[in-house]
Symmetry: C2
Subunit: 510 residues, 2 copies
């Protein structure tokens, strides 16, 4: 899935990512096309949807047809998602009659769960959706049609007397029941157009028709519940590639793990597979490839492999080769880093900046939102946006540090470990004079200094281990405190050299 709602993704992004999907045998492209922050498809029946709801950034119908053809030529189906009844602010800018609130509405510029929700009590809402879905379904020949259904906070419903009266008169005990009513109506519209409805976890209710497909963001337990109830489903928990987890973590996630393992074989057959989701709060067309690739190749291998295929070193060895191939196929996941580093530096071949960039990572999960204020218009051009989600260099160095701590390191590994640490210790002196040139690099001054200090601690530890002379307790304690402090993100970046140096320091204390 690519979210073209929060940050618009031009055709070129979609095309080259379809090329990448073909290369790793991913066969369904789920296109998230409407969000609070943007309505991204041309409607000829309701042109105010894109005219008022997109800021001019939307796909024409001809472009949609082009992508559907492009995907089909690569053996890939396209499932569109129009997320209702929430995540719909952009619909309401030109069509406030669909909303439960009083408006007026503006295209949302913040991130998060928003209050606006469709009015589920009015027949006109369903008439609108029926006609709109009919128009869209002509563009997307696939048998499945995704209606979203996630994250309704219910605030607009609670504030609307008419909606409240409707709930009472229908005996709906809460907003979940009200949404269930809405979903049931929408499902009939979709079925009326001869399509199979797909939705996120929230659409699953006891009376949900059996052919509705559940996409689970809540996890294997929720997915297993859907399968027990007789619905088909697919897992996205564990495959949220916007969250900057490691390829290893994604690789070990399995749609039939956890609660899924206890399903009967008939129930297991209802688990269709998994889906990597590229939500776009923190990516633009420039760096989106670097979040999708190469880690999605590891997810593809997971989904095409038996459950007992879990050899991480083997996966990483092959992932490096696949990553290089993917750039020959036209993906920008490697070149975008280089380009962004050069732009930040302001001069060609910024060697010292590259040394730093190679060992820092963006925060995982939703931590970035806590480390700064971000809106749709915030430029995503900092080092955190340029670097890969997973540092290859740091992963390699962690392996070296472990070998040394375990006493299994070869002479070459000792040598390489020392060379890395010397490189990092000495890099700060080369980099600092260049960092004051722009705001984009000025924030990196403490990041670079910290890397140098961490490397110096690592070199001391290395000497101590090599000379079989344990560091004294006070030194170790002081160093571990400094390392602990260095774990804290600076400039929204994690220094990935810290954990392996902690391993060396622990070994040096013994």
């Amino acid at each position: 899935m690519i979210d073209a709602g929060r940050h618009f993704m031009p055709l070129g992004v979609i095309e080259r990512n379809l090329d990448g999907m073909e290369a790793v045998k991913l066969n369904v492209f789920h296109w998230h096309l409407s969000e609070d922050q943007g309505f991204r498809v041309e409607s000829k029946l309701y042109p105010s949807l894109q005219e008022k709801g997109s800021g001019g950034l939307y796909y024409t119908q001809a472009e949609i047809e082009h992508i559907v053809t492009y995907a089909r030529e690569r053996g890939i189906r396209v499932v569109p998602e129009f997320d209702v009844p929430c995540h719909t602010t952009s619909w309401f800018v030109g069509n406030p009659q669909l909303a439960s609130g009083t408006g007026p509405y503006k295209i949302e510029t913040r991130w998060g769960v928003m209050d606006p929700a469709m009015d589920p009590t009015r027949e006109s809402t369903y008439q609108f959706l029926d006609r709109f879905f009919g128009e869209m379904i002509k563009l997307f020949p696939d048998a499945y049609f995704h209606i979203g259904g996630d994250e309704c906070d219910g605030k607009e419903w609670d504030a609307n007397a008419g909606v409240q009266a409707f709930k009472r008169s229908h005996g709906f005990k809460d907003n979940a029941a009200l949404q269930s009513y809405f979903t049931g109506r929408v499902q009939k519209l979709v079925a009326g157009h001869h399509k199979i409805m797909e939705g996120w976890d929230e659409v699953l209710q006891p009376d949900t028709p059996r052919d509705v497909v559940i996409q689970s963001w809540r996890g294997p337990t929720a997915l297993a519940a859907a399968a027990r109830q007789g619905n088909r489903g697919l897992l996205s928990t564990g495959y949220y590639i916007d969250l900057n987890q490691s390829a290893a973590e994604h690789y070990l996630a399995d749609p039939l793990a956890g609660e899924g393992a206890s399903l009967t074989s008939e129930q297991k057959a209802r688990i269709l597979g998994g889906e990597a989701t590229m939500w776009s709060e923190f990516v633009t067309q420039e760096n989106v490839d670097s979040r999708v690739w190469p880690r999605t190749a590891a997810i593809a291998e997971r989904l095409w492999s038996a459950q007992d295929v879990r050899d991480l070193p083997s996966m990483y060895a092959r992932l490096a080769a696949v990553s290089q191939r993917l750039q020959f196929y036209g993906l920008h996941h490697l070149s975008s880093t280089e380009l962004m580093l050069e732009r930040m530096a302001g001069y060609p071949d910024p060697k010292a900046l590259r040394v730093l960039a190679a060992v820092v990572q963006p925060p995982v999960g939703y931590q970035r939102e806590e480390l700064g204020h971000y809106e749709a218009s915030t430029p995503l051009n900092r080092l955190v946006d340029a670097v890969a989600p997973e540092s290859e260099v740091a992963r390699r160095f962690a392996g070296l540090a472990k070998a040394i701590a375990d006493g299994t390191a070869s002479a070459e590994q000792w040598q390489e470990t020392r060379e890395w640490l010397v490189l990092w210790r000495d890099n700060d002196a080369k980099l600092q004079p260049h960092l004051l040139g722009s705001d984009l690099t000025a924030e990196l001054a403490p990041v670079s200094a910290t890397l140098s200090q961490v490397a110096a601690i690592g070199l001391d530890a290395l000497d101590s281990i090599q000379n079989h002379r344990a560091l004294d307790t006070a030194t170790v304690q002081s160093n571990l405190e400094r390392l602990k402090a260095a774990e804290k993100p600076q400039a929204v970046l994690r220094d990935m050299v810290v954990p392996p140096v902690e391993v060396l320091e622990q070994a040096a204390s013994r």
Copy 2:
């Protein structure tokens, strides 16, 4: 101009090059859309043109409209070219009735001047062109319409008894006169659609209407003749960016130089400017940017500058900055080299191959055709295709060698000169073990060995100059012979270190 006929150029190529044109204030995109090797536009009136003549590689009318809009948004006009009556083999595959020969015709796969030519004697030819032009003119709102008109060898006309009889009955003394008749008819068709006709040198005849614009590939003398005759014109000689000349050569070419200088001011006003032409025999979508940029930025500056702006060091200093900016705007001219080197090498970060690649250049002019057999299907994935047309490193080194030969070199320049020569001398030992991995790199073995030998000669010369001990005559003669031999292209590559080492050797002989 971009030639999309010989090698098709997908929309992304056109878009990013329009972005580059906008950045350097180039305001007319001349789109060469039909060739012996391909007919690249969808015609709804004559669909056999693209269905039989393109191998499936053509622009739909929706795509053409998209590009025209995309260009207009960037202040760029689009002038289409449909080259007639020659360079038309692809038209004849599905429309042999247009041809002077008997056919059957196949899409041409070779390069060069081909025999097929439209039949200028049949009214049906003009009826076809009139309807076809009418359809195309609706797609291209610009006031100008380019009909080509270049390079007719006349062989099909000579072999056609009907054409010969037509020539006699009309009193045409040669095929040029026959083509002139054809061009006159075509000009009336174009004028009938309210467009101003543009054509290459050949369309200029004594009776050519005054509003026809002449694009000159023959040079300033031909262009001046057009201006004297009252026609407007523009220069492309000197701006053939497919020929791998230096930015300096392009920069010093001027539409009003040579014969143009002798024109009256009224005649000079008819010279509209110049146009860089990217013919595509030896480029694909992958490396075309590296031939267009950054050198076209130098041409743009020429065309926007007074004639006395001729400071080459200043131009090169600014060109380097512009080149870096252009990559931020999305051009691939730098990244394509890296990508192709990595693919050739088969491993990431191929340092030693990069050292070699940085000092070799493709042959200039039409020499490449003499150094191998090339057809439309020949892969363009060798080192000659990957490297830039002008080596920045070699240009820099030539400056150092000159300073040393002139006795003006600073201590830093002496030091840098030596470092380069040592790097090149020692690079061969690092690179050779990797070269046998593939055919693409195996051919580089002698290129790499030669660079090492040339660098060794350069180091000897450097020592001799530094120690004020002239090399003996026999050594100098032997070295100069070896350098002369090293000037000869190997693997279709020129070693650009040779000329500056010759300068050092000459200095060492004194």
